[in-house]
């Protein structure tokens, strides 16, 4: 068997590739699930079906997906412009710091003032954290992959430093911040559930991003700058400025994720608030093909697997990390299958490979 480049990719190929990837993921993850002592079909039922079989489960999926939708679209915005922002994790934390700062600094504000201010502070925090690598990229030409990535642990250290120092909880003495004022409690999007308004805001951000990318001149510019920066510059598009702006917007959206998590779920800053949401955002954006619809679908899917993994660990006693394993394998298989779309498999022809001179005439 050999791989041969295709001339054109037929339309049916993408869904087939995704299907193959999903099947491969199920096959490959069945082994560790079996090793963990669970029955793979039952586990997959827990991961993918059980959360959707009740409204409570569905709400839980929406809640789990909320930070991933934010970080996913944040990363997609930057990647689309050709700016490889690996720093959504740090920007998420910086956003959470910003929100906590106003929430503990002015705890008595009424909700009407507190919530917009809380989100604004989160966006500013994320933006500020994204600004330094973006500035270095634009003016000094330092690779943003390195700088954004390395600032992630720095952000975590800042959080831990604050929680061990000035922001240590004044009543319990634990390394969590004080609870934010009650004005900062984000109301439920669906009354009686834990799904908060952060989900609605994430949907709005995704919708706006999708609209800008698909329907506006700046969307075309961003796509051009991301796919062929030199050609874009030749056509009069200010690629450097565009990437700088997309990097800042990306950071601000990642900051909103941190704000939503503080305002809607934790109501305080904790050292474990991010738990890899920023990194998972890269998975969401990549699997979602950097499109708004893709980010929405993959964000919800990973939310589903996340809830399912918790469920499975309770019911089937599988380790909770199994959900991350399924997600990671899915990422690898989907990316591989999508790359393989460009090729077709060909069985080696014996006529040329093994007996090259069969049937040819005598040399003159």
């Amino acid at each position: 068997m050999r791989l041969v480049l295709r001339g054109r990719e037929p339309r049916w190929l993408t869904p087939v590739a995704v299907l193959v990837a999903v099947l491969a993921t199920l096959a490959m993850t069945a082994v560790p699930i079996r090793l963990a002592g669970a029955n793979p079909p039952a586990a997959f039922q827990r991961y993918l079906v059980a959360p959707l079989s009740s409204t409570a489960g569905l709400y839980e999926v929406m809640l789990t997906a909320t930070p991933l939708l934010f970080t996913g679209i944040a990363v997609a915005i930057a990647f689309r412009a050709g700016y490889w922002n690996i720093g959504a994790e740090g920007q998420f934390l910086a956003g959470a710091i910003g929100t906590t700062a106003v929430g503990t600094g002015w705890p008595d504000l009424p909700a009407l003032l507190a919530l917009p201010l809380g989100f604004l502070a989160g966006a500013v925090g994320g933006l500020a954290w994204a600004a330094l690598p973006a500035w270095l990229k634009r003016h000094v030409g330092i690779d943003e992959v390195v700088t954004t990535l390395l600032l992630n642990p720095v952000a975590l250290l800042v959080v831990q430093g604050l929680l061990n120092g000035p922001w240590r909880n004044s009543t319990s003495g634990f390394t969590d911040s004080d609870r934010l004022g009650t004005g900062y409690d984000l109301p439920a999007l669906i009354p009686g559930t834990r799904v908060h308004w952060g989900f609605g805001i994430a949907m709005v951000v995704i919708a706006v991003t999708g609209f800008v990318l698909a329907r506006t001149a700046n969307g075309v510019r961003i796509r051009a700058a991301g796919q062929a920066p030199e050609a874009a510059a030749f056509s009069g598009i200010a690629v450097g400025r565009l990437q700088w702006r997309c990097a800042l917007v990306s950071g601000a959206v990642a900051g909103l994720a941190g704000a939503a998590q503080v305002l809607g779920v934790q109501h305080q800053l904790t050292g474990s608030i991010a738990v890899g949401y920023g990194y998972t955002g890269i998975v969401v954006a990549t699997l979602g093909a950097l499109s708004a619809v893709g980010v929405l679908a993959v964000g919800l899917l990973l939310g589903l697997i996340g809830v399912g993994a918790q469920n499975a660990s309770l019911v089937l006693q599988t380790p909770p990390q199994m959900g991350d394993l399924v997600t990671a394998v899915l990422l690898i298989t989907v990316v591989s299958c999508l790359a393989l779309r460009a090729y077709r498999f060909v069985r080696r022809r014996p006529a040329t490979a093994d007996a090259p001179f069969a049937g040819s005439g005598v040399a003159t």
Partner: protein, 524 residues
């Protein structure tokens, strides 16, 4: 056949890509010391056949023999091991490495690299080929012409017995072509077999011992060069219509030029005697640019009037690319001014230059389009504000613009096809459509027909002439002297970043231009 047996022998080679038969039962041979020219239009299957010989493409049927022994060529490495070297149209050089490193690269095993002996061998190799490039220079600083020479040196660096040259003269000046031909002759005297791929009849007649002609994948002719006329070759190449087209084509027209017929001096000159000149549309004054301390543009002065085509001749690497970068706004000059239609655009960004009426078409086609983007969006990439209504893209207007451009410029593609799927000729038409749709006051265009087939070649020329006749100015950079002399009213010669002189077309004979291009005295 008598004498030594063939060095390289192809028998019954067939290659299909889906429905397209790129090579259909092709058999040919190259003897030691023989120069075989392969002639054919673009798309005739020449490149595919060469890729099969070099192991880049596997044939569906057929065999390859060296010295009468069957060989299995599955990769370029196999080809090199069997004594086959190739210089492709697209270069495979590592830009960040020096000439020596590039040439020695394919030889490097594991462990220590003796760069000093490599350098010596590279110099010897260059001597043998007749090339003089500093071995320490980085490939990124070389012009396209110089890079090709490095490629030739690289191909010969191994124990090479058959050298394949795929359209080698497309980027060379007449002097370079001469040097290349001298090299080929010298090498063939030592017993090297050469397979020379071209679509220029004149070159073929000059250099080859034997000509084989491909048409639509089939080998339609195998002649001894001295015994065959240009008309017959053209008819073999293009079908029966070809011969009459060449024979009846007035000298200096696109068909004649494209197949390499000599340009008749007087006819061109007569056609080009225009008295009235329009207003100045492009004025470049004292343009100077330093790159790495070297003066790559030295006080360049150029003027283009409405209704004329001004050519820039010069061996590649004498400042053409720098002039392009400065005019297109990609690089800021150290000194001098650029005026488009009386507006100083020296410090203006690309958008401002477009606004002032500058159209641009560079030699780097792929660097001017967004490959994954559709034809329709590439067409409007420079005019996005025009196609925006209330903050939203006017998709209907973009589509209808694309459809009218596709119709007008005969682009063989749909509006939503990705540009990456287009052929070079169609890509060039997309770029031409984009540049001309804005009705530029002056069009700067570099190497507009490089690598295009005759149809597209002629089409581009017609368009440029139409632009001129409609009162536009054109600044044409080309390494193809015939092209310059067919189209231009005046030709300026660029040498080491300086405009060495400017000749009206009546005085611009190949010989005079050639002397100036190599830095000779400015003719009075």
């Amino acid at each position: 056949m008598t004498g030594p047996g063939p060095l390289l022998q192809l028998t019954g080679v067939t290659k299909r890509f889906g429905d397209l038969v790129a090579n259909d039962d092709v058999s040919l041979s190259v003897a030691p010391g023989e120069v075989v020219a392969m002639l054919g239009e673009n798309g005739a299957g020449k490149s595919t056949l060469m890729k099969i010989v070099y192991g880049l493409v596997r044939p569906d049927q057929g065999s390859i023999q060296m010295d009468g022994e069957p060989v299995e060529i599955g990769s370029p490495r196999d080809a090199m091991a069997n004594g086959i070297g190739m210089v492709t149209q697209e270069f495979s050089l590592v830009e960040t490495m020096t000439v020596t490193e590039n040439v020695a690269l394919s030889d490097v095993g594991v462990g220590h690299v003796d760069i000093r002996s490599a350098r010596r061998r590279v110099l010897e190799s260059m001597e043998q080929v007749g090339v003089s490039i500093e071995p320490e220079r980085l490939v990124s600083t070389l012009s396209i012409g110089e890079r090709q020479r490095v490629e030739i040196v690289k191909a010969l660096f191994h124990e090479c017995r058959v050298l394949i040259l795929d359209e080698p003269t497309a980027v060379l000046t007449p002097q370079d072509v001469r040097a290349l031909f001298a090299t080929i002759e010298r090498l063939s005297e030592t017993g090297l077999g050469v397979l020379f791929v071209s679509h220029k009849l004149r070159e073929v007649a000059e250099i080859s011992d034997r000509v084989v002609v491909l048409r639509r994948g089939r080998l339609v002719g195998d002649r001894v060069t001295g015994e065959v006329g240009a008309g017959e070759l053209a008819s073999l190449m293009m079908g029966t219509a070809g011969a009459s087209a060449v024979e009846s084509a007035p000298p200096g027209t696109a068909v004649g030029i494209a197949v390499g017929l000599p340009v008749a001096e007087t006819a061109v000159a007569a056609a080009r005697q225009r008295e009235a000149r329009g207003p100045t549309v492009l004025c470049v004054r004292d343009l100077t640019l330093l790159r790495q301390g070297r003066r790559v543009l030295d006080a360049v002065n150029l003027t283009v009037h409405a209704g004329e085509i001004v050519g820039i001749a010069g061996i590649s690497g004498n400042g053409q690319t720098d002039l392009m970068n400065v005019l297109c706004g990609m690089v800021e000059p150290m000194g001098g001014t650029i005026e488009v239609g009386g507006v100083d655009v020296t410090r203006t960004d690309t958008a401002g230059r477009l606004e002032a009426g500058l159209g641009r078409l560079t030699e780097d086609r792929r660097g001017s389009v967004v490959p994954q983007m559709s034809v329709e969006y590439n067409l409007v990439l420079e005019d996005l504000p025009t196609y925006t209504r209330r903050g939203m893209l006017d998709k209907a207007a973009i589509r209808s613009h694309a459809e009218s451009m596709i119709e007008e410029f005969d682009i063989r593609a749909g509006p939503s096809d990705a540009v990456a799927t287009l052929s070079g000729g169609n890509m060039q038409k997309v770029l031409l459509a984009r540049a001309l749709a804005r009705r530029p006051r002056v069009l700067f265009i570099a190497q507009p027909t490089r690598g295009l087939d005759i149809g597209a070649y002629r089409y581009v020329h017609t368009r440029l002439q139409e632009l001129r006749d409609g009162g536009g100015g054109v600044l044409l950079v080309s390494e193809d002297l015939d092209e310059l002399r067919t189209l231009c009213d005046r030709i300026a010669v660029l040498f080491r970043g300086e405009v060495l002189g400017e000749l009206p077309i009546a005085e611009a004979s190949s010989e005079r231009l050639g002397v100036m291009m190599t830095g000779g005295a400015v003719p009075v």
